[in-house]
């Protein structure tokens, strides 16, 4: 990583544990994310990658561990094992620092592209429509979809939908972007346009966590690649090292299978 990077900690996750019923899906995950990091999280299906991401922004609640976002405690676990979240208002404020892009896009189908972008800034931040529209237009231009501003999501291709979803997340000016398998629902010929957009954000030093099955993308774009298996982080290293010289047998087996 370049020396000019600040070392400001954006996310600190310590010993995150999560169960669904009797199934332990996260068995103590610890990860630090610094400003400007692009963390690619890879691993087999069911390894807990998405669940981990969803725990960070409170879409799932954890059963143990601590999460701090930009130095503020979202949730902590006492010595007794009791897991304590910050008050609701604090949780909401902290989680607003993170945007998220979903595998299934989750655009609002009853709103046009432009309305999708300005909905949250207007409703949540109370911004003036006239003030937000030029910004939203700039974001649409950035993802190459300004001409679709008045279209409804159902008129867009999968790749276009996902780029709108990225623009919608950016419209809230998050400090961190979480991507939950952003290209897994796309036809292969459409993944490129979405990955290009994410790559562009990486060049602008956006802090990002990307759960992905795109190995080439992880290798080229991430500053750190995390390999997860069976609810644990098996290996977390810069991609050049991880892909060339995996230390763990499980990582090797997975990479051989994927590449």
């Amino acid at each position: 990583m370049p020396f000019t990077m600040t070392d400001q900690l954006m996310i600190t996750a310590r010993d995150i544990r999560k169960r669904f019923g009797t199934l332990e899906v996260l068995k103590g995950i610890s990860l630090e994310v610094k400003k400007g990091d692009v963390i690619a999280i890879i691993g087999p299906s069911g390894s807990g990658k998405s669940t981990f991401l969803r725990c960070l922004n409170h879409l799932e609640t954890i059963d143990g561990g601590n999460i701090e976002i930009e130095g503020e405690t979202l949730v902590s676990t006492e010595a007794s094992g009791a897991c304590r979240y910050a008050p609701d208002a604090t949780v909401q404020r902290i989680c607003r620092k993170m945007g998220m892009v979903f595998q299934q896009f989750n655009l609002f189908p009853h709103l046009t592209v432009m309305q999708n972008l300005i909905e949250a800034p207007v409703v949540v931040k109370g911004m003036n429509r006239d003030a937000i529209i030029p910004k939203a237009e700039a974001l649409l231009r950035k993802v190459g979809l300004l001409e679709k501003r008045d279209s409804y999501p159902s008129r867009l291709s999968g790749g276009q939908k996902q780029r709108v979803a990225i623009a919608r997340a950016l419209a809230m000016e998050p400090d961190i972007l979480l991507f939950d398998e952003p290209t897994s629902a796309l036809d292969p010929e459409l993944t490129g346009e979405v990955l290009r957009t994410i790559r562009q954000l990486a060049e602008e030093r956006m802090t990002m966590l990307v759960v992905t099955h795109e190995m080439a993308f992880a290798r080229e774009v991430s500053t750190q690649t995390v390999f997860m298996d069976d609810g644990e982080i098996v290996e977390a290293r810069p991609p050049a090292e991880l892909f060339a010289h995996p230390e763990q047998q499980r990582t090797r087996a997975f990479l051989e299978h994927m590449l």
Binding site: R96, M98, G99, H110, A120
Partner: protein, 218 residues
């Protein structure tokens, strides 16, 4: 013949006004009440949800006419809550309570048909639960429930004829009165035309609304 029709038109029209009054007041009150019932039914508070469920069972499980008769004749004798209602308010209360139960089930089905991802997307954008329901979920629900709501609304137009049991002169009871007085069935035909016009207007209104919502696909 023409003269006779003009002669009975006056009374039939005032009967139709009673019918339309019951219809509109019921619709305006039962829709929001139905939505509230659906929200309670879907809430995570078991007791509240159970009560809403029981209420819906009771209202859909007994005849509307029985409910109307109960509110008019039996309610005054019920301890504590017993009040004596005049015929028109009694009919309205029965209709609203009954139709709210049916609307509640339509709303519930609509709300449950909205994908979880919509709630999650709204949450990560910072919308509160209330904002999510008002601005994201319910607008989509309306589109999906228009056909069943239209069905129920058309049924309501015709159900209003049940108020005859409280001796109120709605369209059908007025027509029947004239039939018995004049020994001719033509007032029935005129009444049928009135009902058909009302349901035709509703059909057109709902078709327009469906068309308006057709600008987007789910």
């Amino acid at each position: 013949m023409m003269e006779y029709l003009l002669l009975i038109l006056g009374p039939l029209l005032s009967g139709a006004v009673v019918t339309l009054k019951v219809f509109f007041i019921t619709l305006v009150l039962a829709l929001p009440l139905g939505l509230m019932l659906a929200m309670v039914r879907l809430s995570r508070y078991r007791a509240a949800s159970g009560i809403a469920n029981g209420y819906i069972w009771l209202m859909r499980g007994t005849p509307l006419m029985l409910q109307m008769l109960f509110i008019y004749f039996a309610l005054p004798f019920v301890p504590v809550i017993g009040i004596r209602l005049p015929d028109f308010p009694a009919a309205i209360v029965a209709f609203v309570l009954n139709y709210a139960a049916y609307f509640a089930e339509i709303f519930r089905g609509g709300i449950q048909s909205i994908d979880r991802g919509q709630y999650e997307a709204a949450k990560v954008l910072g919308l509160t639960y209330g904002q999510t329901m008002r601005r994201i979920v319910l607008p989509q629900v309306v589109k999906r429930i228009l056909p069943p709501i239209s069905n129920e609304t058309i049924t309501l137009v015709k159900d209003t004829s049940l108020i005859y049991v409280l001796a109120m002169n709605d369209l059908l009871r007025t027509a029947r009165g004239i039939v018995q007085r004049d020994f001719t069935t033509s007032p029935f035909l005129v009444a049928a035309v009135f009902y058909l016009v009302m349901t035709l207007v509703l059909t057109v209104v709902f078709q327009r609304m469906e068309k308006r919502y057709a600008v987007y696909d789910d």
